[in-house]
Symmetry: C2
Subunit: 339 residues, 2 copies
């Protein structure tokens, strides 16, 4: 918040920022973000109203009703909504602990004309899974071989709190990939700023759709974010966020080990915001509703599946907003429900 307030006054004195701007985005912000993420020169970017709009523009620019798209199962709810709105035909590929099941993915790509493969390779929502290096290279090779465009959604990539980062999947198939980045997790979600990056030929039709749909994203917000990204304190800010999340995750991990006695399981994560708690045979929706009445917000597995029937019993736990003592109370309530 401090980082924002520093810049607000200076922005308000630049009257240009309150006039109409370019559809592709505020150029100084795009340049700053390219520097920040070391984006190669052959890749262009557009600023969007959150990365959610980026995905919506991809769907509107490239999909016709009935087009085949692939997703991991489970998958991000917002992606299921947008692809549903676009009337795409959704094909699900089982997720393993190292990413999508490569044999299933190749079987799908070789049997159907798949247009897009949407994925969250870093600290997946809802499972927290981070794809292995081998999976990244294999998926990229498959996208290349079968001419499938990879949509690499990377909102949690900056939130790694242990281990070493892997390259973006798209770095292995740049000509067949569109990358979505979010500033919600490292700056603020209320400003609604994201960025979509791709070779210019793929970006151009998306710019055209955005031009018709809302002309451009609010310029004062973009100018404020640009100043925040440039701020020498920003790196320290992200480090602080990572450390805070790691502390909360460690606390939650400790607490969750108590639930193994009831047949619950979870995998260790190295970043992001979510733990996927696998439950014994039960209805996760009933459990989630009961917990909500007790003031504990968790998301049941079924909302992350294209078909409810495919969902195993599980809960998505977000550990980033709760302090360790709040996590303790929450896990105790889960424990009581399981008893």
């Amino acid at each position: 918040m401090h980082l924002f307030s520093k810049t607000m006054m200076s922005i308000s004195e630049c009257s240009d920022l309150f006039q109409y701007g370019e559809t592709q985005g505020y150029e100084p912000l795009i340049n700053e973000a390219h520097k920040h993420y070391a984006i190669p020169n052959n890749i262009s970017s557009m600023i969007t109203n959150g990365s959610q709009q980026g995905l919506d523009l991809i769907a509107r620019a490239f999909l016709n009703p009935g087009d085949n798209v692939a997703l991991e199962a489970p998958s991000y709810l917002g992606a299921l909504q947008i692809l549903g709105l676009a009337q795409a035909t959704i094909h699900s590929v089982q997720q393993t602990n190292s990413g999508p099941d490569i044999h299933q993915l190749e079987a799908l790509f070789s049997s159907q004309k798949i247009k897009l493969f949407y994925a969250v390779p870093d600290f997946h929502n809802p499972t927290g899974v981070c794809w292995s290096l081998a999976t990244r290279q294999q998926v990229a090779a498959l996208c290349h071989r079968y001419s499938v465009t990879l949509i690499e959604d990377a909102p949690y990539r900056d939130l790694r709190f242990s281990g070493e980062p892997y390259p973006l999947v798209s770095s292995f198939c740049e000509d067949h990939a569109i990358v979505l980045r979010s500033f919600s997790k490292i700056a603020a979600p209320g400003i609604r700023l994201g960025m979509v990056s791709a070779p210019q030929t793929m970006l151009s039709p998306m710019i055209k759709v955005k031009q018709a749909s809302d002309l451009h994203t609010a310029i004062p917000m973009q100018a404020i974010l640009m100043t925040v990204l440039k701020d020498p304190e920003f790196t320290q800010h992200i480090d602080n966020v990572r450390t805070a999340y790691q502390t909360r995750y460690q606390a939650l991990k400790q607490l969750l080990s108590r639930l193994q006695a009831y047949g619950c399981q979870f995998n260790d994560i190295e970043g992001g915001m979510f733990v996927w708690l696998q439950l014994p045979e039960m209805n996760p929706l009933t459990l989630a509703e009961s917990l909500l009445k007790q003031g504990v917000a968790v998301v049941p597995s079924n909302v992350f599946y294209n078909s409810d029937n495919d969902a195993p019993p599980a809960l998505r736990l977000n550990f980033t907003h709760a302090k360790p003592d709040e996590l303790e109370i929450a896990v105790s309530k889960i424990e009581r429900c399981l008893q």
Copy 2:
């Protein structure tokens, strides 16, 4: 600009404004806008990324490819683009000096199942036409009789600088109308804020589409606009804008009378931003291109028609950005081209 800078600092200290918000919009802004526009209690509103997004959400929530929609000819370019993107079938109704040709409109409504009628009844873009009271009532009655939803786009309504305002067309057919308002013309365009208003049953599907497409509009921008609308100086600010536009229009009107000698015509306007200069038989695109090379930006008539062939020779002149001496130079250049 002064009105914005006053509020920027206070906003930056409210950390809630940087978190995720409601899809429908920042409630204090909606309440303030309802007070400002005296919107009746049975009408609900949603804040959008400019009124352009409002129109896009209408198209996405209500139109299937091939659906019939009606527009005045000429019509706002952005509306033609969005309805084209939605693959709607566009039917054009000739505009007269008091609004759409009522006989043509009734013939169309009675012969085709028209879903939406998009119109800009106050100081039309591009013609500056303001619908008469009789036309407003007749159009509302037709929308009611044939169950056509009126899309009343009102971005210039606050810019009346002479004469008395008429009621909104939608005030005569509230159950069959969606109103689009823009804060671009009275506050600032770069903030990308508009508002769409309708009975809740019509608004709900649009909220659902916006939720999937970009979650919500940037909250800090909405909070800043709310503070600006509440500011006692804001009424004075709009009055100043109106007076400035009237002065510029009067200067342009005086200058344009010189062009009558070359067969040009235009109608007097009472507000808005545009004069529609009807030309003698010629290619308006060639004229516009030649003027652009001389530093004069005007828009040729063809872009405002669904079919180029329907466009009479005319130019849209925007008088709001130029000082009287710049208008003098511009009209002299038009005159030289016509000679």
